[in-house]
Amino acid sequence: MNPRNATGPKDPNDPKDPKSPGKPAGLLGAAVRRLRRDLVVLAGLLTLAYLILPNVVVMVFSFNKPNGRFNYSWQRFSTDAWQDPCGVADLCGSLGLSLQIAAWATVGATVLGTMIAFALVRYRFRARGAINSLIFLPMAMPEVVMAASLLTLFLNMGARLGFWTVLIAHIMFCLSFVVTAVKARVMSMDPRLEEAARDLYAGPVQTFLRVTLPIAAPGIAAGALLAFALSFDDFIITNFNAGSTVTFPMFVWGSAQRGTPVQINVIGTAMFVLAVLVVVAGQLVAARRKRTAATR
């Protein structure tokens, strides 16, 4: 028995009574109650706005027609840059190079990182503990330091700076992110699932392809996406080790000294929209799969 109800239904402190005098009355009271209820949602929306604002600025200024060389103040609406995204010399060349490096770095880092992750989770070997902590080193080390030491290394080895040195550097720093993402997934994987597959007449290859890989796939995909994003927009390490090659971030940096073409905003906006579309498509597919599974 609730002791507060002991005095009867007219208890003035009963929280269920809307006319309770203990609460602020009228419109103000309603607003306060509402705020209290939706505080988390409100805070979330504000944070989201904070996150998205820079992207919105980039997007808006991709439709600007600047007067001088600098795209920093709004003049008037125009779709000129969208109609001619490659209109600035070397822009699309550097973009293509960046995409190429990002794609290969993703492949390399994902394959190697997945193997490292499986080795670290599934096998017991001598240096396992050391590797487990060393794998975080590229994440923790200041990028400038890593960039400079990589340059020293390449120079001492007599390597010619360019596409390959950039790719090697990118695979290196993407690895730790892939390993972390895949490891989390593999660790949560029940080893009995693979035993069950072997028990059900699947040999080692079949077990890996039919059970291990599909179950680890979300972790591998997350690692790959992360690797692509990191590689694509890396500037510091690339700038140190690229020699005369120019990637897209280096192009943006270089042009910012002389003036910012609107096309940079166009590319940025396109990348952003593409990424959002991929995420939305993924969500839709997942939602549909869930629905059909529930109704079938």
């Binding site: 699932l193 069950a196 040999g203 599974a293």
Partner: protein, 418 residues
């Protein structure tokens, strides 16, 4: 892999099989034959080696020594995917990325069968999950997942079906239902079932033959009633049901052995004593709580002659419904358990009352006195938990805790392989 299809019949034969992990021996060298078509249970507490034994039959664990035969074929060196044996895992291990239909079809597809629809459909009907074919495992309840795991194994018509504590995760009512269901399926398909469990009631309900394992050894093997009525070790006596074990001294041997315990004489049949019993030696006299009749001390004269009797005082009684359980302390022993059917309850039988415990000498059994008297009880199992079993390893109903109608709900499901 056509060999798995064409192979027929035969016993499971384990010869000198053992498993060690470094210095730890999970399974002591062990000989075991499981007759074809039988429902065989490996019963024991966590860490006793029962799951390791099962996994060696499945091929998921390589034996350190010994061989595994299926019929006449030596399968010791065959990988699991080449053995005509399937397993129902403790955690079910259903593939989360496949729906129920594909889970069940997995084995058939791996063996290269193209048209699996009919067989999978039949199997879904057998386990009554026809409408769930396109669901994912996580959308099913525990009992339904369990049935999928059974169907996924059975559809391959294995020569032996291995069940690794398959009912451990289910609640009591569902577990009882699934015990009967599994027994029905086993009778229907006639496949050899090897069932690992720590639940002695489950083992006795389902299996034709039970092997009680302890510390990597088979303590005793036999039909459930045989094990219950004629335990040969204190572990079996305590782990399977509840036993009162009374230390005694042998006074005379022959077709009937006479012993003295707590100043009184007890008799038991000679064939129910260990071979080495001779006058002057020590013996543990055992009697099951439900075989004992409890009379108030005032009625001691009415106890028929020829019955074993000891005196004591009731220290505790608990009303269970179908029966009342009494704890009695006396000169022969403390903490003696007596279960009385609630037919005509004697109102004088309350804690503090002086009583006489008497029973038919034929129900008495004798055990070698050189054993740990508490082996297999809950306290003993919990004390030994450091040696591999996790906390809460209270698996067997202890001498002083459980009895008919009670259960070890929430018994731990920790794995017993390290």
């Amino acid at each position: 892999m056509t060999t798995t299809d064409t192979y027929t019949g035969g016993d499971v034969r384990l010869t000198g099989i053992s498993k060690s992990y470094g210095s730890f021996t999970a399974v002591q060298p062990l000989d075991l034959t499981v007759p074809q078509g039988s429902f065989f249970a490996l019963l024991g507490a966590s860490g006793c080696g029962k799951t390791t034994t099962l996994r060696m039959i499945a091929g998921l664990e390589d034996p350190t020594t010994g061989t595994v035969h299926l019929g006449d074929r030596d399968v010791t060196d065959l990988p699991p995917y080449k053995r005509p044996v399937n397993t129902v895992f403790q955690s079910y291990a259903l593939f989360p990325h496949l729906d129920i239909f594909e889970n069940i079809a997995f084995g058939l597809r791996r063996r290269g069968l193209k048209s699996v629809k009919k067989q999978v459909g039949e199997m879904l009907e057998l386990v009554q999950l026809g409408d769930k074919a396109r669901h994912r495992p996580h959308q099913l309840s525990g009992g339904q997942q369990q049935r999928v795991a059974v169907a996924r194994a059975l559809i391959n018509h294995p020569q032996v079906l291995l069940l690794d504590e398959p009912l451990g995760a289910l609640d009591l009512k569902l577990r009882r239902q699934m015990q009967l269901e599994l027994k029905r399926i086993q009778t229907e398909v006639g496949i050899t079932f090897v069932h690992v469990t720590h639940d002695q009631e489950e083992a006795m309900t389902m299996a034709d033959t039970v092997a009680v394992m302890n510390g990597g050894r088979v303590e005793q093997l036999g039909a459930p009633a045989e094990l219950y009525e004629h335990p040969r070790t204190t572990f079996v006596a305590n782990f399977l049901g509840t036993s009162n074990l009374i230390p005694a001294e042998v006074a005379g041997t022959g077709s009937e052995v006479v012993v003295t315990a707590g100043g009184g004489k007890l008799r038991l049949p000679g064939e129910r004593c260990p071979a080495g019993a001779r006058p002057g030696g020590r013996l543990l006299v055992g009697i099951r709580p439900e075989k004992i009749t409890l009379s108030h001390a005032d009625d001691a004269g009415a106890v028929p002659d020829g019955r074993n009797r000891i005196t004591g005082r009731i220290t505790d009684s608990s009303f269970i419904g179908v029966s009342t359980q009494y704890t009695v302390d006396g000169p022969a022993g403390t903490g003696l358990q007596v279960y009385e059917q609630n037919i005509e309850r004697d109102p004088r039988l309350v804690p503090g009352a002086e009583v006489v415990l008497h029973w038919n000498p034929a129900h008495t059994f004798g055990l070698d006195a050189d054993q740990d008297i508490a082996a297999g009880t809950e306290q003993e199992t919990a004390a030994g938990a450091g040696s591999g079993a996790g906390p809460g390893a209270a698996t067997g109903p202890g001498r002083n805790t459980a009895g008919p109608g009670q259960d070890i709900a929430g018994a731990e499901r920790a794995e017993d392989s390290p």
